[in-house]
Assembly symmetry: C2
């Protein structure tokens, strides 16, 4: 296996799952597959394609099995599914997925409100889910959300995150994802949390950052993560994933913005910005709304200018 | 005079000039003064209020004299005017302004297209303008634009920027402003350019950064500037200053986004985020369009939620 260069960065795409789950417009399975086809064509190698939560909870993702059944076969591409529990894991395995994600919250209050269980209960259940997934030979990504701040508890002790990360690693998780669920992290905090988690024994190459651009800090936080040694970053095409009821609200770190800045800084993402931008334009059309990614907007403006000069 | 703490950051506000100059909706003088009043109320101490270019060039700023005549008198607040030439300087002085800005481009081609003169000619003219301004006891801020990239020439040699900066300092400029006119800078480049300019002899506390968020990098670039020792950053409320014909296009670094991240990182801007956000909402209403700042959008969404819960 080819050893990745230290200048290789892996962008993990969450638009079909985290990006869509709050969208009011429910996309057809065909539209989702159209998006995924375009993401693959751009060179994206990790895509979180759906979630196996109870369909009544997230109607947008009720077609999980149909999406997975029709995924484009492409060498080197890994498709991931979010599994909230044992039942979700079984459904993912039944569909044939080989990569799954679990999630819990660094904040006790957020965990209880979001998952209706204490952190301890969630961790116990996830230890079993992760163990079973590993026994089946799956690859497991464990999200820890609200690492950089919680809407109920405010700042979260990085040592608490590190303890959870260790427990998840001991359970068998391959990758720990540090999530800024509400988009409140700042670059110094990102550096400090990564250092704490690494010092606790989680290898940097088993750690990923999942940033939201709610307050305009996603790129700055990714750059801080990069400087601290992280090489895997989550993003969503066109920055989808914000609150769809607030027109300008930013969502996940926009994949195109990350490609642009990382390539500009000399890192290799292996992704074609132009093709990724076309995927973002496809998604905005499918959702019939303006999406917040900055490079997405640059792309749309350039496309408009080109079509004007072509017709003029 | 009180020595500023190393944790004090100065945000220089450009919304009334750089923010408005490309807007299709021409604001009334009263609306501009309404904006400036609100910026002052928020605690902003440096505001670029207008430009003394020929009124036919920028109709939005044709009321320069009227704006300056009615500026709120507030202790410690410095009002700045952009002066393109000797005539502009005379008009600024006639109005009673004590702080002026000059501008030229680090790119020869951009300078010729934008100012219709060679860089050498511009520098010669500006040397005289700056000298005259200093002889009148004014404070002078010298913008160098396209420092981090030019739409015609691509990347610009940092040594060229440093040479121009030195000439402008020798002419008497108090502050050199490194401008990312088209929003193409990346954080490593910001660090490198600042180091080159500082090594050439321009003190860090006489250097400011003027970033645009076109590609989503403004906050990351400001953070890079901060780490490199810069303490003055330009911003425009609500991120105004993008292309008004491209609805989601980002403009200047959004002042609210800078306040949020800098205060979060332990720096003191002296500005009230809430009051600044109210100024941004006022501007969006006056321009009757959606503005791209991220914290601006967070503020609008929260205000909406509050008004719903009040009425519900």
């Amino acid at each position: 296996m080819k050893q990745p260069s230290p200048n290789t960065v892996n962008l993990y795409e969450v638009s079909p799952r985290d990006g869509l789950q709050n969208e009011a417009t429910v996309l057809s399975t065909e539209a989702k597959l159209g998006l995924i086809h375009r993401l693959v064509a751009a060179g994206i190698r990790d895509i979180e394609v759906t979630s196996f939560v109870r369909p009544s909870w997230v109607p947008q993702l009720a077609d999980a099995a149909q999406v997975v059944a029709s995924l484009p076969q492409a060498e080197g591409v890994r498709y991931w599914g979010l599994v909230p529990n044992q039942r979700g894991l079984e459904r993912a395995i039944d569909c044939g997925l080989r990569h799954v994600c679990t999630f819990l919250s660094a904040s006790e209050t957020h965990n209880q409100k979001n998952l209706n269980r204490t952190q301890r209960e969630t961790l116990a259940a996830q230890t079993k889910v992760i163990g079973d997934a590993k026994a089946e030979g799956l690859v497991v990504r464990a999200y820890i959300s609200t690492v950089f701040g919680c809407p109920y508890e405010g700042e979260i002790d990085a040592n608490q995150t590190a303890r959870l990360a260790l427990r998840l690693r001991e359970a068998g998780a391959d990758v720990i994802v540090l999530g800024d669920t509400v988009g409140v992290a700042n670059p110094d905090q990102v550096t400090a949390v990564i250092q704490t988690v690494a010092a606790a024994g989680i290898p940097l190459d088993c750690t990923a950052l999942h940033m939201h651009d709610t307050r305009g800090t996603a790129v700055a936080n990714v750059v801080a993560g990069l400087k601290a040694g992280i090489r895997t970053f989550d993003g969503a095409i066109a920055g989808v994933g914000g609150c769809p009821y607030a027109p300008g609200a930013a969502g996940n770190a926009a994949t195109e913005d990350l490609i642009n800045v990382l390539e500009d800084m000399g890192f290799d993402t292996g992704i074609c910005l132009e093709t990724a931008s076309a995927a973002g334009a496809f998604l905005a059309t499918a959702l019939d709304r303006s999406l917040p990614g900055r490079m997405h907007q640059v792309y749309l403006a350039q496309r408009e200018a080109n079509s004007e000069s072509c017709s003029g």
